[in-house]
C-alpha cells in the first residue's frame, strides 16, 4: 500500500445507515444521526478502509490518494 495519505469522504445523501463501514473500519467511520461520516478526512492507507469502501452497499464512500486519484476496492 502506497505511503501517501488518503482522503476519505462519505456522501451522506447516498448513505442509508447500513453500518457495514462502521463494522469493517470502526476506527475510521462513525454513525452520526443514523448516517456514516469519516472520523478524519485524511488517513494513512488502511486495509480496513478498503474493506469499508468495498462493502458499502450504495457506494457512498470515496477514497482518494495523495495525487487525487480514486482508490478502487480490490
Amino acid at each position: 500500500m502506497s505511503g501517501g495519505r488518503w482522503t476519505v469522504e462519505v456522501d451522506r445523501r447516498r448513505c442509508i445507515g447500513n453500518q457495514m463501514c462502521v463494522t469493517a473500519a470502526g476506527d475510521h467511520f462513525v454513525l452520526e444521526d443514523g448516517r456514516s461520516r469519516p472520523v478524519a478526512d485524511s488517513v494513512a492507507p488502511s486495509e480496513d478502509v478498503l474493506e469499508a469502501l468495498e462493502l458499502c452497499p450504495t457506494s457512498a464512500i470515496t477514497v482518494r490518494d495523495e495525487t487525487g486519484a480514486l482508490v478502487e476496492p480490490s
Binding site: 442509508i16 453500518q19 463494522t23 468495498e54 462493502l55 452497499p57
Partner: protein
C-alpha cells in the same frame, strides 16, 4: 366528500380512500398500538421521520424473534426466515452479511448490467417469436431474475427449475402443510449441500464457491450456516424482483399519462420510474387496499421515547410502510403516481442495518427489465385478468396475460 376516519387497521377500501385515511392517521398521531392475530401487540409507526429514526436506532433489535417469540404479524411468519440474516442483530448480523454483501454492492452490480440487458433481450426475442398473447410472469418476470441470481450463485439449470417451488415453501404463510414445507425445504437444503460440496472440489467464480471458501477460511462458520445463507439468497433472490416487474408493468399500463412519460424518454425516466413503482405502484391498479401489517417488527431493548410516546423495553414496533411512503412532509403531491419524482426516499427496501441486501441488484434488474419490455414492445397491453398468488409472504402472481 366525507372526512376520512383516522382508524388503523383499516380497509379493504378503494385506493383513493386508503390514501385519505392514511393522511388522516399521520396528521392525528405518530403511531398506533395494534393487536395482531399472531404475536400480540405492536406499535405501528406511520410517519416517515419516526420510521427512519427507528430503522437507524440499534436499541431496536430482532433477536427475541430468533429466540422464538412470535413475530407480531397478520399471520404466522415463515419460521425459516426468523433464523436468517434479517432477524439477526450485530455482531452476528454483520458477520454473516459481510460474507455476501460484496457481491451486491452498486459497483459490482453495475458490472452485470450489460449481461442482464442481454438476457432481457433474449427473453423478449422469445416472446416475439412465439407471438402474443403471453403470460408475462412465466415468459419474462420470473425468468429474468432467476437467470441472474442463478448465474451469480452458480446454480446449474437443473436446480433453477425448482427455484419457484423452493422459494414458495420458504415464504409460505398458508396453503401448504407443514410436511409440504419441510419436504420442499429439505430438498433445497440437500441440493445446495451437494452442489456446495462439488464447488469445494471445483471452485468457480460464483457466490456459492465464495461461501464455501469463506467457510473453509473461518472456523466460526458451520456448513449449516453457509447453506442457510445460500437458501436465503434463493428465497430473496428473484421473487420480489419478479413481483415488482409485474407490478411496474401493470401500474404503467393503468396510468396512460405516466406510461406516455416513460415512453417519451425510457432511458432517462426508468431510474425514477422504478423508485416510484416501489413507493406507490400498488395504489395505481384500482385494487382495494388495507392498512394492517408493514415491515418486519423490531423489539425495544430498553425504554425509548419516540415522538413523545414512551416505548417500553420489550414492546414491538413496526413500520407502517404504505402510510410512511406517502408522508406529505417528504413526498410532494404524495397521492400522485409520478414516474419522474425527484425526491423519493421510500422505505420499501427498508433502511439502515436491514436495508435490503439485494437492493442494488433488484433496482438494476427492474430498470433493465421494465425498460426493455416497453422499448421492445411499445404496444404492450393487458390481455386479461391477472391471477394473484395466495399464501406466500411476498405475494405476486401466477398469470399476467399481455399482448402487443
Amino acid at each position: 366528500m366525507t372526512v376520512a376516519r383516522a382508524e388503523f387497521p383499516f380497509g379493504p377500501v378503494p385506493p383513493a380512500e386508503a390514501l385519505q385515511i392514511m393522511r388522516a392517521i399521520r396528521d392525528d398521531r405518530p403511531m398506533t398500538r395494534v393487536t395482531f392475530p399472531v404475536g400480540g401487540e405492536c406499535w405501528m409507526l406511520h410517519r416517515h421521520e419516526t420510521c427512519r429514526a427507528v430503522l437507524e436506532d440499534r436499541r431496536f433489535v430482532r433477536r427475541p424473534f430468533t429466540d422464538g417469540r412470535p413475530v407480531p404479524y397478520a399471520f404466522a411468519f415463515p419460521a425459516f426466515l426468523t433464523q436468517t440474516l434479517q432477524f439477526m442483530d450485530p455482531p452476528d448480523h454483520t458477520r454473516f452479511r459481510r460474507l455476501v454483501s460484496k457481491a451486491f454492492t452498486l459497483r459490482r452490480v453495475e458490472r452485470l448490467r450489460g449481461k442482464v440487458q442481454e438476457v432481457a433481450d433474449e427473453l423478449v426475442d422469445a416472446m416475439v417469436e412465439t407471438g402474443p398473447p403471453a403470460n408475462l410472469v412465466e415468459s419474462f418476470a420470473l425468468r429474468l431474475p432467476i437467470r441472474v441470481i442463478g448465474d451469480m450463485l452458480g446454480v446449474p439449470e437443473d436446480g433453477r427449475g425448482n427455484f419457484v417451488r423452493w422459494s414458495h415453501a420458504m415464504l409460505a404463510t398458508s396453503g401448504m402443510t407443514e410436511d409440504e414445507v419441510t419436504e420442499a425445504m429439505t430438498s433445497l437444503y440437500l441440493y445446495l449441500q451437494e452442489l456446495m460440496t462439488r464447488k469445494r472440489d471445483d471452485p468457480r467464480d460464483d457466490l456459492l464457491s465464495a461461501l464455501v471458501a469463506a467457510r473453509d477460511a473461518d472456523d466460526r462458520l458451520t456448513d449449516d450456516e453457509i447453506i442457510q445463507i445460500a437458501m436465503l439468497l434463493v428465497a430473496g433472490g428473484f421473487d420480489n424482483t419478479a413481483n415488482f416487474i409485474e407490478l411496474g408493468v401493470q401500474a404503467l399500463l393503468a396510468d396512460p399519462g405516466q406510461h406516455a412519460a416513460l415512453l417519451a424518454d425510457i432511458d432517462g425516466v426508468i431510474p425514477t420510474a422504478v423508485e416510484e413503482i416501489l413507493r406507490h405502484g400498488g395504489f395505481v391498479l384500482g385494487r382495494e387496499m388495507s392498512g394492517f401489517a408493514g415491515l418486519v417488527p423490531f423489539v425495544a431493548s430498553e425504554d425509548v421515547e419516540l415522538d413523545g410516546v414512551l416505548i417500553k423495553a420489550g414492546d414491538a414496533v413496526a413500520v407502517d410502510l404504505s402510510t410512511a411512503n406517502h408522508d406529505d412532509g417528504v413526498f410532494a403531491d404524495s397521492d400522485r403516481f409520478d414516474v419522474t419524482r425527484e425526491r423519493n426516499p421510500h422505505l420499501t427496501l427498508s433502511h439502515g442495518l436491514h436495508h435490503c441486501l439485494g437492493a442494488p441488484l433488484a433496482r438494476m434488474e427492474l430498470q433493465v427489465g421494465i425498460a426493455t419490455l416497453f422499448r421492445r414492445l411499445p404496444e404492450l397491453k393487458l390481455a386479461g385478468e391477472p391471477v394473484y398468488l395466495e399464501g406466500v409472504l411476498t405475494g405476486g402472481m401466477t398469470d399476467l396475460p399481455v399482448t402487443w
